[in-house]
């Protein structure tokens, strides 16, 4: 970034007032992902901003209520974001699509228990920059899809602020785009994926930590809208390549599917 840190911090006020342009917002949200002080300040300033509309309350036109209530009847509420420490997802929301919801709930459970999937669709990988939709509630709302688990959030934030954070990307080109973030001092790594293909109900993605000739599983995960952000399992400090394949649900001991993307991560 070309903006000096001092001036980045000062943007909290403009940010909560939406007094930033799109580029500034994106840059500031990247900064927020790694700056606790700014995150806290943003939360506290938002609470102050939320008080201001009390002075400008105006009763809306009566037909607005009816319009909205009839419009929502046609829209299915999105399921909650899976959380490791939360109770199991509530029973199916709409009787009419019960089967579908049950399937989604089962998948969410499976995902939550075995794999820490973080900030899925909100993560946007771009060359030279990573934008995290981790923070602001309106971002989750606005982008509709995002899977966040607190513990992973924390680990991801730690990773992002690690002084020895290294960023590796797959070769630019067509197909799946992958970025690996790794901190040797923390011993953790995360992978961000874009443009993942759709897979069948009996398939999942599996990440592999490859040292020499030996692939070791680094976790199984699902994607949302072709994107996923995952904390890699196992010891990743010695990894030479991180690769992703499609495997049967539950994962395989050794890769059986074609490699979708590989990211060289040798230091």
């Amino acid at each position: 970034m070309t903006v000096e840190p001092e001036s980045v911090h000062a943007l909290t006020g403009a940010y909560v007032l939406d007094a930033v342009d799109d580029d500034e917002r994106e840059a500031f949200e990247q900064h927020l992902a790694v700056c606790n002080d700014c995150r806290e300040e943003v939360l506290s300033l938002r609470s102050a901003v939320a008080r201001m509309p009390a002075v400008s309350a105006v009763a809306p036109p009566p037909e607005l209520r009816a319009n909205i209530l009839s419009a929502i009847a046609a829209v299915r509420p999105l399921p909650p974001l899976p959380e490791e420490d939360a109770p199991p997802p509530a029973a199916p929301i709409e009787p009419s699509s019960g089967r579908h919801d049950e399937l989604a709930a089962r998948r969410a459970n499976r995902r939550a228990s075995r794999w820490r999937l973080v900030a899925a669709a909100a993560a946007v990988v771009a060359l030279g920059g990573v934008s995290w939709g981790l923070l602001a509630p309106e971002d989750l709302g606005g982008r509709e899809i995002g899977v966040i688990e607190r513990e992973s959030d924390v680990q991801l934030a730690e990773l992002m602020s690690a002084p020895d954070l290294q960023v590796y990307t797959s070769a630019a080109g067509e197909g799946v785009q992958g970025t690996v973030l790794r901190s040797d001092s923390l011993g953790t790594a995360a992978m961000l994926l874009q443009d993942l293909p759709e897979v069948g109900d009996d398939q999942e993605f599996q990440a592999w930590n490859i040292v020499g000739e030996t692939p070791e599983s680094a976790g199984v995960f699902s994607a949302a809208d072709g994107t996923a952000t995952v904390l890699l399992e196992g010891d990743v400090t010695d990894a030479e390549v991180i690769a992703v394949t499609v495997e049967p649900v539950g994962g395989s001991d050794q890769p059986t599917g074609d490699i979708l993307v590989q990211v060289p991560v040798s230091s």
Binding site: A10, T12, E144
Partner: protein, 204 residues
Amino acid sequence: MAPHLTPVPAERSSSGTGSDPDEQGRLAALLRRSARGDEAAFAQVYDATSAQVYGLVLRVVRDPAQAAEVAQECYLQVWQNASRFDSSRGSVIGWILTLAHRRAVDRVRSAQSATDRDQKFALREPREEIDTGDVVVERMEAERVRRALGKLTEVQRQAIELAYLGGYTHTEVAGLLDIPLGTAKTRLRDGLIRLRDFFEGGER
């Protein structure tokens, strides 16, 4: 310039939709029911928040028809994303207002060239505010916010109004107020910090 209202100490901890913990808990519960498809619960969320939401959006976009559109989009978004509301990040009304404001600002910015945006901003004359004022607690909350706004310096208040109600970026605010770029950013921040501290101080 002197504040419009004489600031007085925050002697009572008045409540309102923005600050009352009971009300916040009630709205959060209604929103959880909405997430499960409970339209009646959502109607209650609407009733409790729509005057603030519509009033804010109307301020920013100015045209009542457009304000209604933006408000409707906002509530659809709230309905669809009700399960993703996170109470650790603020109140329900705060969340909804954040969504609404962002939409309103997007709307005026995209319509920027078509609109004359050189009109005055109503917050400058807080006494002239339209106020539903049906409920005593709402009046008290509005009064309290006015007192808080009265604590700001003239530049802080103007900068916040231009940004929040005018939908201008801090860069544009600097140009409109004829102050250096970095200063606008700083005035927005220190103005909000002052508001925050006023609210927090009065409630403890």
